[in-house]
Symmetry: C2
Subunit: 300 residues, 2 copies
């Protein structure tokens, strides 16, 4: 699967050889989110880096076929398109082993100013906050969005990301973003507190920000403008694969924001989209999210 | 997806661009069958040609990870590994557009004599009956199997294959195989008759052969040694994707043969395996066929 005989390639081959039969599905956290938002019926675009290779072609096809605008030029040469081996256990939990590949080549030149300025929300994926060029891309996108009177959203992505960049993530959350998405582990790590309630109290101190905290089967909590909205998880028959639950929650929530819905409904839309994606393998929707949302919360 | 700018590559690109988001899963009719048989718990091997490319690596991984022996050397250079674009409509029916690629490079040198002579059944896929080298591979495998006192099974694969090679398929069925698999369209085409009943009467004339006729939701009919076994389709909640139904029916049936079960039980095992594979996208099992078979028909 990996083109060069580097140590990481050898490690990947060892892991792959030990894995059971696989299914290949496009992914990527923010890509899953924009695909989900488009599936609900809002216009969405994606900025991200693939390589000009077979997996890059497949990624581009899938995101565009889902109705998402995607024009970032692929890298030619350099590391191949990112890939992630995901092991799903019978309890639907997943273990991920990610090779970021071309992803980390994203830089400020890839940020399409017109697309960002025209979008109600620009959503940033914490996973990418690592290389200087990607950070510059974030800063450029945030400045463009705010300059156009638009909103910036950020997902903390992963508690390991939070640990690695806690001070910078705190600065992003406190001073640069309008909507923050985090799960329990991430928000607890961000504020270095002992409990979810303590983290909720900490994140609520800034009333102008929309704070969206997801809690798996316990649903989600949205804290904004002094109000607190508790949203139950959407019931489903069987949880098959939790991969993409947070990504699709963000998709539903952001689609609601783009449709100017109230925050409780945005949360409900997040729960509906998350429930669909955990009912099957893979992090891309397989049934019409638009129909599900229309049936359960009505049209905007 | 296709490496060269040939007319078929251009056509494939046009179709792919018109398709919705995709999921990539290993397939191949006979490969699906051996994977299914291995999943039930019988020892199985596969002989078939991939190219030494990314899709070939994925195919090899998946078939081996399913417990199937696969040692046919990949082609180096020449056409890339086969691929098939499958469109599944909401009624679970599928339309397939196949590029055979390296498959058609299979020849008699690829037939592993020891593997064929050691197998209870050698199963041949009618799809491959096209190029002289593949026909020679079939003839060599049949001679080896029969020389070792083993059985040869053949699937007619597709009514288009039957139309293209009717006289040769008739000869194969009448003079060279011990077990034949066909669906309604294929067996009706083979005998150029007007009804399933007429085709059944025609195929039954050779009592020494096991004739296995699948009829989708109407179940299957097994005619052998003068007896007729009617097997009901296995009930399932929802048919999602019928791709691989015939392949997995053959898997269950052949696993039963390898386990020396009676023909009615073999048919039931085929129905169980087929029901599992049509309950989700893709033609490879996603739940334990061994557990399903054990729960419903017991151990051999």
């Amino acid at each position: 699967m990996y083109p060069a005989r580097t140590p990481i390639a050898a490690r990947a081959e060892t892991l792959y050889a030990a894995m059971g039969p696989g299914i290949e599905i496009s992914g990527g956290s923010a890509a899953n989110t924009v695909v989900g938002a488009a599936a609900i019926g809002v216009r969405a675009g994606y900025i991200g880096k693939v390589c000009a290779d077979q997996l890059g072609d497949v990624f581009r096809h899938d995101v565009r076929a889902a109705g998402v605008a995607f024009t970032t030029p692929p890298a030619r040469g350099g590391p191949p398109t990112a890939r992630c081996m995901i092991l799903v256990t019978p309890d639907a939990q997943r273990t991920m082993q990610t090779y970021l590949g071309a992803c980390v080549e994203l830089g400020p030149d890839d940020v399409d100013a017109g697309a960002v300025e025209g979008a109600a929300v620009t959503y940033l994926e914490g996973y990418l906050w690592d290389k200087p060029a990607a950070k510059d891309a974030f800063r450029k996108a945030m400045a463009l969005a705010h300059g156009a009177g638009r909103k910036v959203a950020l997902t903390l992505s992963d508690s390991f990301c939070v640990e690695r960049h806690r001070a910078e993530f705190r600065d992003l959350v406190d001073n640069h973003v309008d909507i923050v998405f985090a799960n329990e582990a991430e928000i607890v790590s961000l504020y270095q507190v002992a409990s979810f309630d303590a983290a909720l109290a900490a994140v609520r101190t800034k009333a102008a920000r929309i704070n969206v905290l997801t809690r798996s089967a316990k649903g989600s909590v949205i804290a904004a403008a002094g109000a607190l909205h508790q949203v139950a998880a959407e019931p489903i028959d069987k949880v098959v694969d939790t991969t993409g639950a947070g990504d699709l929650y963000a998709a539903g929530f952001l689609a609601g924001i783009a449709q100017d819905r109230d925050l409780a409904t945005c949360g409900r839309m997040g729960a509906i989209a998350a429930a669909e994606v955990i009912s099957h393998i893979g992090a891309r929707p397989e049934t019409s999210l638009k129909d599900l949302v229309r049936a359960r919360v009505g049209t905007a």
